[in-house]
Symmetry: C2
Subunit: 627 residues, 2 copies
């Protein structure tokens, strides 16, 4: 360990003082809010004091500065302490801390990027480390800058498997610019954690998972200063600082006691604050300040106006799986912008994200079979607009990371998801591999945009649009091939549906997407033979759904529509369509979808067995025409 | 290690022969299906041979026998090998294996309990061990029987954090009746796994996580026989057998090669089968048979007709949070049936599942902050009808286990979920803690039943009904108190809504649930003052939704309704209601829900800010009356 200088006693005392000030702020702000987690703040007070006033190199006045060290508070419920650290550092007035959890203050109950010093939302436990890993990966491999990433994880949340996925990810990719601090305060919400204060077990596990692990007394300033220095000078692997701490440290009669999770101190506050004040030696202005910022070594990045390097090049009628078109489009936008990256969970040869790996292996991040890590890493990579990540796997395996995706919306992330192998049309692999709830998942994400492209041309444009769309996007692509139906110069817009087949004599509208669009077109042809005009609509985006086109066309044909989707009945395209007509009289809609757990079998047999084939659409149209 | 006898050479050879027969069946069945994973089967052939013909004690003719050893194939894609093992053991004709993946055969692409020898569905990776842990927990603590639980996990899927949650769970609870076999065949789907053939790292990790770990050559019969014996005689901790294997073992030119995941062998088949046949010494009928079954020591269990031990006991107008009523009901049904159990993820003092722990600590399983383990354990505990598990945590954290819940439907599980802290009405903790997508999640689960009880009385009856309902149930309960509105003797039925307020002059129907039912009732009172009759409906179950009551009442008032829910717009109560009226003309519905990521703040302020309060319902009713 080179160049380590023990801090002077004066500095140590000042850092101790700051820790106790953080404790006082945590007590008074949660007391004012009448809710919050002061004891969870208390265990990390020294860690934050050392990080913010001794270790981290950052611009207090510019928290989003791309060259600064980053900090992620994975145990988000301890945010009053984090808010206090930033206030003490000088970002905003200490008095503002008293607005904690108020409706007109962004000092919320758990941190969100509504605050300029928060990169990502936390509060669902076990998610911060994957994000920090994504940030560190970008720092090391793309920005090639000197900033380091610190992530504070609670011992309770280290029970989440996602934490171990992330530890593995960061050691596998040798992220020596990442330092995780594990706050082993022994107590969970409702009882002692399963490992209590056994810091040696944590050390063993972290070492076995490939990290350099250092056990420290988490309330000892000098041990912390030294450990962070060791971390910064450890090469080839990330460092974990296992900090033995006490929940409610320095809160007499509360420290290390059960039943104090998530509770303001109430009548105990005043006495405890007096005690904390008695521990503070320097009553005047701070004598120390945060470290000088790093030099501006992170490059300028422009992720706007991303375009396909060349337009789609298909012939009408070509048979192309939209998942294949995704791989093609991914490379085209990567050719256009160096910050387009792809991440996958060992499905790259099925999702065609491998195309980017083949084109430029440095821009493909293999996350192996660990979807939570996959998504968290992407959120970390996307934050502060450093990259444009595309995350692909089977659509149904997105469910494995629903909580991360949900939190991604709170994090204001711009990650793009691509789910292949949707619906019964995947065939013989059976229900465990079929995405039949992915639209329900992504529709429920606030601000999301959902593309369900009707062919390869639409897919390429969907991916181009996704790259430029704020918020979470999801593109649903098919396993089987479907015919190309759009011209290469067709213009696509978010929220704009297409009428792909129409006549003056239409009596019913058929709405399908992906494989069911193909079936709807076939059904329309069949119905024509029976003398029934059936207009076909391709929604292109399921969210936002093109209410105007859908409602107007249904009205034009006399108020009847059939919606068919390769998805369960709930939460998908059908209900999206129903939402467009909720306030319309004289419109009736027949919805066809998958009603039960499907069986293995050939794709076409399954489409028929579960009622999605042209035959069933014809029957549904005939039925609705009688109503 | 006591009483270990090395198997005779003849037995070893026979076990080798069976392994190679399993290989041949895996090749021919996937060849017939034109899809599947023969190389993934090959790596586990000796493991299955030894388990099914030397180690496990089970009744071939009665695979669901409650006293038999259990086997869970976590790497479900290798099921052709498992099917072959059961066929060789004599459960069904070997010739049937050729029906793999056919529409009229339940030998599906991944295993499901449509087969009588499969307890739970697998195929989404990393889930089998949590389930096996749940089965082992029940065997040890409730059945107190001698059966052992074996779980075969792939090395690729061991990248899933869920695996490590489960390893920790099983070591924490000292499940020495559990044995996990890790098939380290080095190769994932699209490239080498992150740890390749480094069995020592796996050993270290498993030991650090509390298991007894044994490294073996996974193709060496004697090593496997010995390791399983060691596992069976190891007390106080579960055993992990780390088996170094080769993908495509004994498939010349394919063994240990890339690019052979999930592919039948095609033109290579015949030569390889000839090679495998040449390795088989005994060409006649099997000389060995599975072990004798264990004695019938698992008790008879009856989980039918579960009732509240005493009826609800509230007064109309009492303020009771429905989460509190959940805790009360849980104890009441536990008093009625000894197999009712509860599991929680360190939220028991918020969800009130701690009531059961206080009543009978043996029937509460603390799963700590690891929701995937929580859900998987419950699915394991529920399978073969051994227990009636209730799983509780914050509604939004159910998203963490969506994939497990999804697979639970494929597993035909009867687990009951209870989600508290739903919607913006939780208040200051902010969006990360608010369940706003839980209805979308559970509605998309095939066969699910969703209770959204309107008060404490309804909650107690919902829990009673849930305990007796097949399939997955979800009960959504509130954090804040709401008034008791039902009499204690009110009868509740799945799929039966209540008209809680009505008059002859009603012009509009208001539909709300939980906190928004309260708001809807208030709105109806306010509208009455304005001379507008507003009928109020409490759906009680969101799925199935009471189409008849909803449609008839809306028609009665003239075709207008307002639906209001503390949930995002997509996939929840509103769209459930829209689905009931899709084929009805002359009905218009105004839907009010949460449109964006909410902020922290007081519950009532948030209900108002996000448009869910009585004031907004009144305005919506007035607006719709003009349409």
């Amino acid at each position: 360990m080179s160049n380590y200088h023990k801090p002077e006693a004066k500095i140590v005392q000042e850092l101790k003082d700051i820790a106790n000030k953080i404790r006082i702020h945590s007590i008074t702000s949660t007391q004012a809010a009448k809710s919050g987690h002061p004891t969870s703040c208390s265990s990390i007070a020294e860690i934050l004091s050392v990080l913010f006033f001794n270790t981290m190199r950052y611009k207090v006045s510019a928290p989003k500065d791309p060259s600064s060290d980053r900090f992620v508070l994975s145990k988000g419920h301890a945010c009053p302490a984090l808010y206090a650290a930033w206030a003490e550092a000088g970002l905003f007035p200490v008095a503002d801390l008293q607005n904690l959890r108020k409706i007109d203050s962004d000092l919320e109950g758990h941190p969100t990027p509504r605050l300029n010093f928060i990169d990502v939302g936390t509060g669902s436990l076990g998610q911060g480390l994957a994000i920090a890993g994504g940030m560190a990966y970008v720092g090391k491999n793309y920005d090639k800058a000197n900033y380091r990433v610190y992530c504070l994880v609670g011992d309770g949340e280290s029970a989440e498997g996602s934490i171990w996925e992330s530890v593995h990810f960061s050691s596998y990719y040798k992220l020596d610019n990442l330092c995780v601090i594990l706050d082993v305060n022994r107590l969970g919400q409702s009882e002692e954690t399963s490992l209590g204060h056994d810091v040696e077990i944590y050390r063993k596990r972290l070492e076995a998972f490939g990290m350099h692990a250092i056990v420290v007394d988490g309330h000892d300033i000098e041990e912390l200063v030294k450990a962070f220095h060791t971390a910064a000078t450890t090469k080839g692997k990330p460092t974990a600082i296992v900090a033995k701490t006490f929940k409610g440290k320095n809160f007499p009669k509360i420290e290390n006691m059960d039943n104090w999770h998530g509770k303001p101190l109430g009548d105990n506050s005043e006495k405890i604050i007096q005690h904390l004040k008695s521990l503070i030696k320097n009553q005047g202005p701070l004598q120390i300040h945060p470290q000088k910022p790093l030099k501006d070594d992170a490059p300028l990045v422009d992720i706007t106006h991303i375009k396909l390097s060349s337009p789609p090049a298909y012939n009408i009628g070509d048979s192309v799986a939209t998942r294949v078109a995704y791989g093609t489009a991914l490379v085209k936008i990567a050719q256009n912008n160096p910050r387009v990256i792809a991440l996958d969970g060992d499905m790259k040869n099925s999702t065609y994200s491998e195309n980017l790996k083949k084109y430029d292996s440095s821009r493909y991040i293999e996350c192996f079979i660990a979807e939570q890590s996959l998504v968290g890493t992407a959120i970390g990579a996307a934050c502060r607009d450093r990259t444009v990540p595309f995350v692909s796997t089977f659509a149904t395996f997105m469910t494995r990371a629903f909580d991360q995706i949900r939190m991604g919306a709170i994090s204001q992330t711009n990650v793009n998801f691509v789910g292949s192998h949707c619906g019964v049309s995947i065939g013989e692999d059976g229900p465990s591999q079929m995405g039949l709830e992915d639209l329900a998942l992504f529709r429920s994400i606030p601000g999301s945009t959902i593309f369900y492209p009707g062919d390869a041309v639409a897919t390429e444009r969907a991916i181009e649009l996704a790259a430029n769309t704020k918020g979470i996007t999801f593109t649903r692509v098919n396993r089987p091939t479907t015919p190309v139906i759009y011209k290469n110069d067709q213009v696509f817009t978010v929220g704009k549906a297409f009428v792909v087949k129409k006549s003056d004599k239409d009596q019913v509208v058929l709405i399908g997407a992906g494989v069911t669009l193909v079936e709807a077109i076939t059904a329309s042809d069949e119905l024509a033979k029976l003398g029934i005009g059936a207009r076909v609509i391709d929604p292109f985006t399921v969210k936002p759904i093109d209410k105007e086109t859908i409602v107007n066309n249904i009205k034009e044909v006399g108020g009847r529509a059939v919606v068919v989707e390769d998805h369960y009945y709930e939460g998908g395209l059908g209900e999206a369509v129903l939402s467009t007509t909720a306030l319309e009289r004289d419109i009736i809609i027949k919805h066809i979808a998958v009603a039960k757990v499907p069986h293995s079998g050939p794709p076409n047999v399954l489409l028929d067995l579960y009622g999605l084939s042209a035959k069933h659409i014809v029957a549904a149209a005939q039925e609705i025409l009688k109503l």
